[in-house]
């Protein structure tokens, strides 16, 4: 045991402490850069300034995804300290998600079953899936690197929070280009896309951030 401790002590070097606010800042800058790039690539919907900004459901999808992304990122970054559990944050995310669905249902008000398939527009929906998964990659990668550098003691839950944050941010960015404001379409496709991204993070990040 003495030899073992001696090896650890001889390996000792001054360390730079982990700084959660710096991680949050780096993540925020990365996300804003992604949004700027998305808009610079002319991906915004043509009627963004005219129609979208006056449509309540546009603000609903933007506010919901922004809120969930913020909650997810805060939960993931905080839980990189081993003494902090991500569970309370995940509960808040679940509450925000339920609120998002309830507000969406109230905003909708249309229950005509006949045009449900038309409203779901599966071609655009599949594109939504692809783009949200793709757009979630930068934030997911950054959070994965933070996880590896940190010491998450609840790896699976932290990975889930990171995945939700990355997916919700991707949905936020995609909202600017998505021509759909129908709550049914958003409720189904955005939720599916976010669930897919979060599942990828939940599977990959714990393995990557093993310590």
């Amino acid at each position: 045991m003495d030899d073992f401790l001696g090896r650890l002590v001889s390996d000792l070097e001054p360390v730079r402490r982990r700084r959660p606010h710096v991680e949050a800042l780096v993540l925020a800058l990365l996300c804003l850069a992604e949004l700027a790039l998305w808009l610079a690539l002319n991906q915004a919907r043509p009627n963004l300034m005219g129609v979208a900004l006056t449509t309540p459901t546009f603000w609903w999808k933007l506010a919901s995804s922004g809120l969930i992304a913020g909650l997810g990122a805060a939960t993931a970054i905080n839980s990189l300290d081993p003494a902090v559990s991500p569970r309370r944050g995940l509960i808040w995310i679940a509450i925000a998600f339920v609120a998002y669905l309830i507000v969406g249902a109230f905003t909708d008000g249309r229950f005509d079953r006949i045009d449900i398939l038309q409203r779901l527009d599966w071609r655009d929906g599949v594109e939504c899936l692809e783009k949200v998964v793709l757009l979630s990659a930068p934030a997911m990668t950054a959070l994965g690197v933070f996880m590896r550098n940190g010491a998450p003691a609840h790896r699976e839950e932290t990975a889930l929070a990171a995945g939700i944050a990355a997916a919700a941010w991707a949905a936020f960015v995609f909202s600017f280009g998505c021509p759909h404001d129908d709550p049914l379409y958003i409720g189904v496709w955005y939720t599916l896309a976010c669930a897919l991204s979060a599942s990828i993070a939940r599977v990959l990040l714990p393995w990557f951030a093993r310590w």
Binding site: L8, V9, S10, P14, V15, R17, R18, P82, G150
Partner: protein, 177 residues
């Protein structure tokens, strides 16, 4: 839990003070062995304590001096404990040799008591086969004969029981020093 200023020693260690770090590791090592003696079979205690010390060494930059040191240490100890339990789940079940040296009865009794309390939370069919195979060293076939379960059911019950146990431990607060 703490006899001396572990927080101060860790802050000094983060700045590169080897003397303070050595003292911290020695004292924390004693605490860790006591912690694992209550939760693991005696043969696993030293390895688990060393694992936790390596984790403390590698992750010392994640300690925030604005927070108390003990919860940080306890969280790492618990994390490594759950890792050990998962490894136990993956380990093949082998019959115990009759030549195994028996020592440290006190800690074994405490471990057995803690394990017994944990196993009581499982279904009887699961806890029975885990006791037989993982603790008493019976083979899968012997456990099947003993309990009247089929061999595949014994394997399934061990797998599910240990998975549930690990899940319960992650949820629960069995880790208090």
């Amino acid at each position: 839990m703490v006899g001396s200023d572990w927080r101060g020693m860790m802050i000094a260690a983060q700045a590169g003070n080897g003397g303070a770090y050595r003292r911290l590791l020695e004292e924390v090592g004693v605490w860790l062995r006591r912690y694992y003696r209550r939760r693991l079979p005696p043969s696993m205690v030293d390895d688990a304590a060393q694992d936790a010390l390596i984790a403390i060494h590698q992750k010392r930059h994640t300690y925030d001096p604005a927070r108390p040191f003990e919860p940080w240490l306890a969280a790492i100890a618990r994390y490594k404990w759950i890792d050990r339990l998962r490894a136990l789940k993956r380990a093949p079940s082998e019959a115990l040799s009759l030549d195994i040296e028996v020592e440290d009865h006190g800690s074994a009794v405490v471990s057995a008591t803690v394990l017994d309390a944990l196993l009581r939370g499982l279904k009887p069919t699961q806890s029975a086969v885990i006791r037989l195979v993982k603790i008493q060293g019976y083979s899968i076939e012997e456990a099947a004969q003993h309990t009247g379960q089929s061999i595949s059911l014994v394997k399934v019950n061990i797998h599910r029981g240990l998975a549930r146990l690990a899940k319960e431990l992650e949820k629960g607060d069995h880790a208090d020093g």
